[in-house]
Symmetry: D2
Subunit: 442 residues, 4 copies
Amino acid sequence: LTFDAIFVPDALRDAVSDRAWVQAMLDAERALAVAEARAGVIPEGSAAAIADACRVERFDVEGIVAAGRAVANPAEPLVRALRETVGGTAADHVHWGATSQDVVDTAAMLVARRAATVVLDELAGVAEGCAALAARYRATPLAGRTLLQHAVPTTFGLKAAGWLVAVLESGRRLSELRSRRLAAQLGGAAGTLAWLGDRGPQVLRAYAEELELAEPELPWHANRVRIAELGAALDVAAGVLAKIALDVALLSQSEVGEVAERSAGGSSTMPQKQNPVGSTVASACARLAHAHASVLLAGLPQEHERGVGGWQSEWTALSGALALTGGAAAAMREVVAGLEVDAGRMRRNLEATGGGILAERVTRLLAERIGRREAHALVAAASIRAAEAGRPLRDELLADPRVDLGPEELEEVFEPTGYLGSAETFVDRALELYRRTTEEGG
Amino acid sequence: LTFDAIFVPDALRDAVSDRAWVQAMLDAERALAVAEARAGVIPEGSAAAIADACRVERFDVEGIVAAGRAVANPAEPLVRALRETVGGTAADHVHWGATSQDVVDTAAMLVARRAATVVLDELAGVAEGCAALAARYRATPLAGRTLLQHAVPTTFGLKAAGWLVAVLESGRRLSELRSRRLAAQLGGAAGTLAWLGDRGPQVLRAYAEELELAEPELPWHANRVRIAELGAALDVAAGVLAKIALDVALLSQSEVGEVAERSAGGSSTMPQKQNPVGSTVASACARLAHAHASVLLAGLPQEHERGVGGWQSEWTALSGALALTGGAAAAMREVVAGLEVDAGRMRRNLEATGGGILAERVTRLLAERIGRREAHALVAAASIRAAEAGRPLRDELLADPRVDLGPEELEEVFEPTGYLGSAETFVDRALELYRRTTEEGG
Amino acid sequence: LTFDAIFVPDALRDAVSDRAWVQAMLDAERALAVAEARAGVIPEGSAAAIADACRVERFDVEGIVAAGRAVANPAEPLVRALRETVGGTAADHVHWGATSQDVVDTAAMLVARRAATVVLDELAGVAEGCAALAARYRATPLAGRTLLQHAVPTTFGLKAAGWLVAVLESGRRLSELRSRRLAAQLGGAAGTLAWLGDRGPQVLRAYAEELELAEPELPWHANRVRIAELGAALDVAAGVLAKIALDVALLSQSEVGEVAERSAGGSSTMPQKQNPVGSTVASACARLAHAHASVLLAGLPQEHERGVGGWQSEWTALSGALALTGGAAAAMREVVAGLEVDAGRMRRNLEATGGGILAERVTRLLAERIGRREAHALVAAASIRAAEAGRPLRDELLADPRVDLGPEELEEVFEPTGYLGSAETFVDRALELYRRTTEEGG
Amino acid sequence: LTFDAIFVPDALRDAVSDRAWVQAMLDAERALAVAEARAGVIPEGSAAAIADACRVERFDVEGIVAAGRAVANPAEPLVRALRETVGGTAADHVHWGATSQDVVDTAAMLVARRAATVVLDELAGVAEGCAALAARYRATPLAGRTLLQHAVPTTFGLKAAGWLVAVLESGRRLSELRSRRLAAQLGGAAGTLAWLGDRGPQVLRAYAEELELAEPELPWHANRVRIAELGAALDVAAGVLAKIALDVALLSQSEVGEVAERSAGGSSTMPQKQNPVGSTVASACARLAHAHASVLLAGLPQEHERGVGGWQSEWTALSGALALTGGAAAAMREVVAGLEVDAGRMRRNLEATGGGILAERVTRLLAERIGRREAHALVAAASIRAAEAGRPLRDELLADPRVDLGPEELEEVFEPTGYLGSAETFVDRALELYRRTTEEGG
């Protein structure tokens, strides 16, 4: 990533670094040795020696990766280095019965678990912030906007509740994948575990247990559904965060001014600027996360028992999808937690169209008296006259003899808080879902 | 779709046609009227009149869609036409309290349900075919291939079992979304159901029940997670089908010849050609399905309470993802069901490298005698000499004094069926999963 | 396309229809026969009979495409039907020496030429509209906005000039590809033209001339650069149109109100709504066009002499990219031509931040007196106080003793038209480019 | 990039590193100061002091980028650091009249120029290798393959010539963009250069000259066509390289064995493996490059005078597209330069189908005697019988009384080198294009 420190928090950059991947590969080698010793396939002593060696600080990560260019994967040089580090007869038991992909795929699962945990924590923070906004501004009216035009009033709490539900939904899926679909990979050269004779399944089970990963029905060398699902779930989460970022940026516009990021960013040249920088970072992250995820989704068709290019493209794409979704989540967590909400401005914006935002309501009222179609036509015409003349819709209606509503009645009709429908009920439903979700999660 | 009859079966083209969408929109209008009558919001008589009118054959689908250009959606002209068809006072109760997006989004869910049912049926057919292949060729050896090179032997049953598990996994997700995540949409102008006063939630529940769709926590106008998840699940399924297609096309190559599509396609000029046309169609469909799905995934960030462009791009993208995934599935169902498998050719290909495919096995055996690293080096050097001289690896090894294996021993070592590891066990595991899945599904 | 009449004008839907493709394939067959007769490869009489038969109205387009499913391409059944239509000995000379891909690829070029001509015409219309806006509003000030925040003043003419230049740039590339890169395809079964003996190059040249397409260096069966470049150029054009659409939608917001689409669309429920429907349609088209183009870009790696799936995915993707880019252009042409511009509202919005938008200017002025950094800090602090107090920045500055500017001086500083820099010069440069471009094009 | 040393050569990783970007930003600042001094806008002394300071080794790159998180761009902290480094009154003249985007966009152009130069050099190397193969194997026959089936013979020279032309085409476009479309960016806060009064255009011209970048018609803050075009050109180049990689991997298959990468990679467990590692690396790079490029293409619609997220996503995407396309090119340069071609195996594979690959030719010959349709039917039936019986097509034909060809005639018909059509002519045309292109380039 260019300028990655702008986009991704340190914890996530570390979690998907080459060093983290190499440590995860060593974790896989260690677990394999332990499992094989448990199954009586290699001596206990070898397993102990191997386990002892499997610490990243004992390896030249950079050199190993560079050596990987000659074989198009980092596992082969790592295995060589590990054998050297282990030494003695135990060296021969390193990587016993495994193939490079076993180690890299299992490492991918471990990296995904660690990074997804950070992502989910950030998402939980975003959800918490949205829930707080939903509760606090449950009844605070602002303009509902469709196709970027004022539609009818809604509440800021309902807006935040909408964000909340989307965050919970995307988090639920990612969490489900993390607990149920991250699986150990062990198939040997082509997925039969032939090297292990008839002990394959036994070793596979012990290996998965040792890693606390799911035991797959089959080695999944050539079945990349797990990886693609992970990409999709991250993409959805990133997209949800970008939706919140988009709303925040739109609400922060100079002409709207209903919210502001607490840590709004300055400009190198314009002293008055208060840029929505967190939302900007999140939006950029989400675009990149989408691209990385699309590599994983497009990568499903891989050749026979191991792909030529498709498999190898997953490493960066998976790291990128994890780090960038996490980057978006971290940025939005801060944005949502510190969002400055200007209820007064919301109110003024609601009123700025001279009652236009309540045209539906007045139509509904008139419909009872003069029929729906005539009412719609009347209000539409009055809206156009009002807009052209720069006058309030209210005044246009008062001037129309067909509208037999007195000024007080009209006053009431044009009060936005009287036309919020089920907004508050919906907020409560979202908060109830949040409570259930956090309880389950806890 | 250009030449859509080549790619998508009639049933799916119908299921996502404009006509099907308009009928689904009418289904939504009908359900709304019925639900509102049940809730006492509109008269029973109006609901009956509306329900009666909601049949697509009473509408000029083409004209309605064309009129939609002026408002960027097809619901507004449909509602006008429906009001005209209904007539009388009931006309005013058409679309009562709803907005265009309510109708189109609900229609999208109905279209998705109907089309996904076809897709899942086709996927079930693919799974059935894979399961049959896995069972029949459980122990039939062929070359396992990694990076398109012979690796070690595997069985064709295990290969098919790998396809099977991937199909089941992708079908499971799509099926789950179909039963749990397809939800009614009803929010009114901006998601508050203000028009319905305090009856919003009651109407929403009845409406969802009437449609047999899930009742959402909140209207999801601006939360497109459902749509994106659907896109992702279809993309994964399409990718899995493309993986099978890729393997079939590779195995069908003139130089490999291990399988052939029963309905292999001829050429306009070359009489001998037997093209893997089903796999070709599936691969093309999957590429297009991926593109359509990516529109849905990229479309998550929509503005405020309704998007400007993002929402409107979903209709084609959803239809496309459904139809094309289904097209891929239909093609592969036929391919897998009629796959001609040439076990003799598989055997000959296994032997074509003069034992090279068992280099790992011989290394393992020698390792016990001369140590792993020396064994690896010895066999690697012999492999290179064998390849260069065009001689069997076996002969190179026999000529090496360090290899104290007799001809019979070597004969046994180079018998591929003796080095299949857990292939058959894994096949059984996949078939067991298939049995469980179909029982649950039934 | 679902609801295609909403998105794509009739002319473009026709230009990429199955019927148009089949006619283009027939055009290729006709040109081939004529070229071969000219080269003495087939009899003149055969060529005449074939040419006569090559009219789409003589064929059952639907039936031919449906028959294409069995061979994964529409050319083989078309050739059969054409032979039947031609009859006699001439029938044997149909498709002489050609392969299916020759016909389909050449048809793709013809379809692309016809559809790109429509797209370029629509783009020219958009450019014309932008040029008119640039000229008319050359000096009309409005807020320049960065990260959706007021930055410094600019002019609406310069904004439109920016759109204009982007449209011209994207049109130039598409036009260049149309004139120089659309090439005839003729290679025979695998690109050697073996069937034609030593007359291959001669026939190829005549064939290209007959079609008024470029003669390629080599048959390009497996070199899809042309197709990918076309996809990329369409994607860029669609993206440029979406940029204009985005600006129009943002400027049309209820709170901004600086422009409105003349044919703004109504709502099924809200009488006051004036939706930016043209921009909405364009944005949706551009998203879909991007997806179609990405299929073409991702499709470059095709196997050997003809792809398995990659090639076949191009037909829909190319049609889609052409039709949808054209749909976006048609929508924006209308939007730009009929854009209602409210200069008064632009002025009011400029003033709405109480001079904040001129903070840079006042900083520049103060910098000369008290140094740049102190000036920046002073104005930044005053801006924050102004924003918090809801007071004009001007008043905050007047109250600061370090600011030795009198009210008149400040008045002048805060006049936006005094701080437009080179806006008008830049408009002139863009209009000059437009003049040059249209002269060259004419 | 995860494991970036596997995929991208050092030179390219350096060329797109944060350090390279920061140096490029400093180059922009230096050029701005020099240009402004030349235009009399700032004192010569200030320009000299600034120019002196603009060396990356004087800055804490990591710290600057980290500080960029607060403002969502790296320019603002760099400008602060540069002012501090310059000190004195000259500090105030740093970044005079510019905005962050001016500096970052100009840096993007400089980074693109430097990296594209490396990419083009690698592409030139690939072209050179392809040209050598085309010349050397101009007449060496191998099977032409369509849909992965033997079609008719072609030559390996023509295959390489096809690669060559595609490489030249994609290189031509990238080279054209590098020389003509990389443009300086200078617009000030919102594209008007207001800070510079009436000297804007003069400074812009001098600035562009100083950087040897094109002078744009307008500042292009919000017109991202340049960036998108660059992305598209890199994507096309990457796709072309992936096409070559795909062909090499397919030709390297154990069952095909017609080529081998000289530096074929070993396996951690299978001593006999000779993996096409260069092609694998190139394929993985191309998939990732495509994703990065798609971010640039999807990023065209940016808000008003500077985007919220779209702009910021370009930095990584541009770096990635450059580095990964270069990575693919570097890998394929080595592959093509060292490709081991086995003409004997090509010949044996041609013969392996018992003459099937010449079915078209024999049909053509028989057509002259018994009519085309009967000939096609006869040969098709014989082909099927031959395939089923595992007998040569030749023998089936000899056994058919309708085939009045003697054994010698048939012998001749089935000689592949007699049915190569214009293959060698086409090779010459491609080599001629190569000569012209390199002469122009030189």
